[in-house]
């Protein structure tokens, strides 16, 4: 690292260290399209702030010959492009973080890709940024991509937007070009409600207006890019002026005499003696001590990770939020929020997701997608689902109330992620706008409690999944897996099988043909009651006769019955013989055994037919779940 220009290092290192101890930290992201020269800009910032090591430079020079796009010149972009696969494609495809520093500040740069399919990455980079540098190619002006990036950084609440109009060297440093682009951009900024931005004409390749004012652009009197980055306000500093918020991450209890509450202060300045209210309980007390390994502290600032104790013993656990008593957060369980979808599997209203908001995790359902925003045109579109990179304004409903602030007021208190309950992926990110007050009125309304009303509570429609097939065909195996998956999707299910029916409800029945018909009739009847209660019922019985299955279907409404045929040849089922029943039947010890001395009538038009001979339980259960979606029983 050649801070050689910095005489102080050589002459008085201790004075240098003292000076640099007081540096601040700014996180920003850069966005632009593939050809705007984004990587070159970051390379330039690293290069000009002299944060490159000699061996890194050597590696880039070597790489430039292999991969570079700048002919003989060193390709600064290669500094930034990280993974091998990306280099081969010549584009950046993920968020990369870079570091450099000046006398005033340390900088963390999130470098995010520009193409459409990677909105996800840009939102990720923007979520932790204090400022955004939006690159525009001076030759092309404000493009669709520029608008998209601007909309996204504005959506994520970034307050400092720097419009870097790049490649000025290629338009002869013409002020008219610069001004025309600024005017275009201002019109767009007004449209999306962006209050302010700073426009700077630059050439990342030549270094104009990056660190030093450009001799080629005397007509420009604004700050250089670096000058701007060194002075804009860091978001955490602004948050010191917000009300006190401490989301409790961890309760520190080394012994009976100490009970500390740990967390990162998400707003305000906190002192011992301050009056606080703990949410959601609403109890009030005072801060006793702010404890640290370097002794008790007189205050803590927003952004610090702290441990405090309270004067009174009140109930505080992970997920509680300790708030300033004069301005506590709100508590609610239904919100309007903006959601950015980040997964290939779309967002389906009605499906239950895990929602991590602050440090607590609750279950959440999108009850309504009010509209989707086309990020290119800003049009509002009706939508049933949100696809990957879709942005929607949605109503969400949680399984319990949480403390929160609107995202605009406090990013840490108003942001959340959605996690798939089954796969555990992070599938979406969201920002709370406000609480829906509807929750207070719902219990006053008169409601006829009928099947539809009960179903409405569940977020899915009731119905029966009727598995049929030979003994040993795999019905129970698949039915069990389907139930697990439905449960993970938040579906209220019940599985009826030989184990829980034969030993109770039907224990008076034997295996004569008559009893077998009665057995199925009772199962069909119990299923119907459970459907009336709003459940999705799975049944796993041989149920060999068409007529009984017909009866079960007829007890229900259209669209409530899904027949699943486990199509397994007798030889295969008999070879599996998990309970030894075929052997017994062959020896004549079991009478009326389906397939041996009693017929099996395969369904004529089952909703789903599964290959039971080559059973892939995962694939089979997924097919059943898809059938439920197709039938509208569970949300897409």
């Amino acid at each position: 690292m050649s801070h050689v220009q910095d005489e102080l290092i050589a002459s008085d290192i201790e004075a240098y260290l003292k000076q640099h101890e007081h540096k601040g930290l700014l996180r920003f992201l850069t966005c632009g399209s593939v050809d705007d020269g984004k990587s070159t800009l970051i390379g330039r910032l690293l290069f000009d702030s002299q944060m490159l090591f000699e061996d890194q430079l050597a590696a880039i020079e070597k790489d430039s010959k292999k991969w570079g796009t700048q002919a003989d010149a060193m390709d600064l972009a290669l500094l930034v492009d990280g993974l091998a696969a990306e280099r081969e494609q010549g584009i950046t495809i993920d968020v990369a973080y870079r570091f450099f520093s000046t006398q005033q500040r340390k900088f963390i740069v999130a470098d995010t890709p520009g193409h459409e399919q990677y909105t996800r990455n840009m939102v990720t980079g923007a979520s932790t940024a204090d400022a955004a540098v939006i690159l525009v190619d001076a030759r092309h002006g404000v493009l669709t991509q520029t608008r998209r990036h601007s909309y996204l950084v504005h959506l994520l609440g970034i307050r400092h937007i720097i419009l870097a109009i790049n490649k000025m060297d290629l338009v002869d440093y013409d002020p008219a070009v610069f001004r025309r682009i600024v005017d275009d951009y201002r019109a767009f900024a007004d449209l999306i409600g962006m209050e302010d931005f700073t426009a700077i004409p630059v050439s990342a390749l030549k270094g104009d207006n990056i660190l030093h004012p450009s001799p080629a652009m005397h007509w420009f009197h604004g700050p250089t890019l670096m000058g701007c980055l060194e002075t804009v306000e860091v978001d955490e500093t602004r948050m010191q002026r917000a009300p006190v918020r401490l989301p409790v991450q961890w309760v520190n209890r080394p012994n009976l005499d100490f009970r500390g509450f740990c967390g990162t202060l998400a707003g305000g300045i906190l002192h011992p003696g301050d009056r606080v209210r703990v949410l959601p309980s609403g109890k009030e007390t005072r801060v006793a001590r702010i404890v640290s390994d370097e002794g008790d502290r007189p205050r803590a600032l927003a952004g610090e990770s702290i441990t405090l104790t309270l004067e009174d013993e009140i109930d505080v656990s992970r997920g509680s939020v300790i708030c300033g008593a004069d301005a506590p957060a709100q508590v609610a369980d239904q919100f309007e929020a903006r959601i950015v979808w980040m997964h290939e599997e779309p967002l389906y209203p009605g499906r239950t997701y895990l929602m991590k908001a602050g440090v607590q995790t609750v279950q959440a359902t999108v009850t309504d997608i009010k509209y989707q925003v086309n990020v290119n045109t800003l049009e509002r579109l009706a939508a049933d689902t949100l696809e990957l990179n879709g942005i929607g304004v949605c109503n969400i409903s949680l399984d319990r109330p949480i403390p929160f602030d609107p995202y605009e007021e406090n990013r840490d208190m108003g942001s959340f992620i959605f996690i798939d309950r089954f796969e555990h992926h992070t599938v979406g990110a969201g920002m709370i706008d406000f609480a829906l007050r509807r929750a207070h009125n719902i219990h006053l309304q008169h409601v006829d409690v009928d099947k539809a009303a009960r179903a409405a509570l569940k977020g899915h429609r009731p119905g029966v999944i009727w598995f049929t097939g030979l003994s040993g065909s795999g019905k129970s195996t698949v039915a069990n897996r389907v139930e697990e998956k439905l449960h993970a999707l938040g579906v209220h299910t019940y599985l009826l099988d030989g184990d829980n029916v034969r030993h109770g409800l039907n224990r008076d029945l034997g295996f004569t043909e008559e009893d077998r018909v009665e057995n199925i009739r009772r199962i069909a009847e119990v299923s119907r009651l459970m459907v009336d209660a709003g459940l999705i019922v799975l049944t796993a019985f041989i149920s060999p006769f068409r007529s009984e299955r017909r009866l079960a279907r007829d007890r229900l409404e259209d669209g409530e019955f899904v027949e699943v045929f486990m199509d397994t040849p007798l030889e295969v089922a008999e070879q599996r013989d998990p309970k030894g029943l075929y052997r017994k039947a062959r020896r004549g010890e079991l009478k009326n055994f389906t397939g041996i001395d009693s017929p099996y009538e395969p369904p004529e038009n089952p909703e789903v037919t599964l290959d039971g001979a080559h059973l892939d339980v995962e694939a089979a259960s997924n097919r059943v779940i898809q059938a439920l979606r197709d039938q509208g029983m569970i949300p897409r």
């Binding site: 290092i9 240098y16 101890e21 091998a84 520190n252 209890r253 908001a357």
Partner: protein
């Protein structure tokens, strides 16, 4: 440290690291902190003590030992564990011991693979650790710049750079399937200079090998290798000579090059680092092959 009403870069980095450690303690079942005895580990350990003060950290330390660390490193490790009252687990790959794997006979690649990569996987699986803190920083090397702070590993300990979870705000998703585990990098956003500055500011103990002293070395392949014990075979005519040297990184002694230096104080070290023009990992033999080699190693399960 406080000056005016803004947080300094070190205060913000410290707060972020502590936040991460507390999230892991709260959201995983059986976390562990990998302790490599180096300066980054020293900072990570200091932050862990801070995060849970006055209680001790709610997780043990794990040292994956290759048997070829410097003697001063072992002494330092044992002293730190004793003084801080920490639970220290030391794991050495028993197969490696049986086959007497060492960097001289088997070369650095095989030695690293068996005694570090394989050994680490063994230890994590044997103890059922579902989250492991590591001291890696994003500024060390290109593939790390894109790795998440919570980095997932399959049950086979593989990293899939194309399939990383988006990481937004301070919201870390620690959910995983049975058998999967997470590597957590609380120092992701620190740079080498930040580490040294923090050590200086907080007076954090580090292994004395970082400071210049007279040590016996031989010159091999343009690197100064310290003759730390009599297991090191000397080439014919090779004679250890005393030189004033120090180490910028610490690893297995036969694989770690020393630099000639007079820096025997922390400000001296920082001064020297700021004035020299070679980056830190150059001392490590492992990175030299190609720029993409670390990415490949990580996919295979190297930390």
């Amino acid at each position: 440290m406080r000056d005016g009403d803004y947080l300094t870069h070190l205060q913000r980095l410290e707060a972020e690291s502590i936040h991460i450690m507390r999230e892991v303690a709260a959201e995983t079942e059986n976390p562990v902190m990998l302790y490599s005895i180096g300066k980054d580990s020293s900072v990570m350990l200091h932050l862990a003590m801070k995060a849970f003060h006055p209680a001790p950290p709610p997780f043990p330390l794990l040292h994956v030992d290759t048997r070829w660390k410097f003697r001063e490193m072992y002494a330092f490790r044992d002293r730190m564990a004793r003084e801080l009252g920490l639970d220290l687990i030391v794991h050495i790959n028993p197969e490696g011991v049986e086959r007497d794997i060492n960097p001289f006979t088997h070369g650095s690649a095989l030695h690293t693979d068996i005694m570090k990569t394989e050994s680490l996987k063994q230890a994590l699986s044997a103890h059922g650790f579902d989250a492991a803190f590591g001291g890696a920083r994003r500024d060390e090397e290109k593939s790390r710049a894109k790795e998440r702070i919570f980095s997932f590993r399959t049950a086979q300990h593989r990293w899939d750079p194309k399939n990383q979870r988006p990481e937004l705000w301070k919201l870390y998703n620690a959910r995983k399937h049975k058998g999967e585990s997470i590597r957590v990098f609380p120092l992701s956003n620190w740079t080498e200079l930040d580490i040294w500055q923090y050590i200086y500011l907080k007076d954090i103990p580090i292994v004395p090998l970082y400071f210049a002293a007279e040590r016996p070395v031989v010159r091999r392949d343009n690197a100064l290798i310290m003759v730390d014990d009599d297991r090191m075979p000397l080439e014919p005519g090779e004679e250890p000579e005393m030189k004033k040297v120090r180490f910028r990184t610490l690893g297995c002694y036969p694989l770690t090059g020393a630099i000639e230096s007079g820096a025997d104080t922390l400000p001296g070290i920082i001064q020297e680092m700021l004035l020299t023009r070679t980056s830190e990992r150059q001392g490590r033999v492992i990175d030299h092959d190609s720029a993409a080699s670390m990415e490949k190693k990580k996919q295979e399960g190297y930390f």
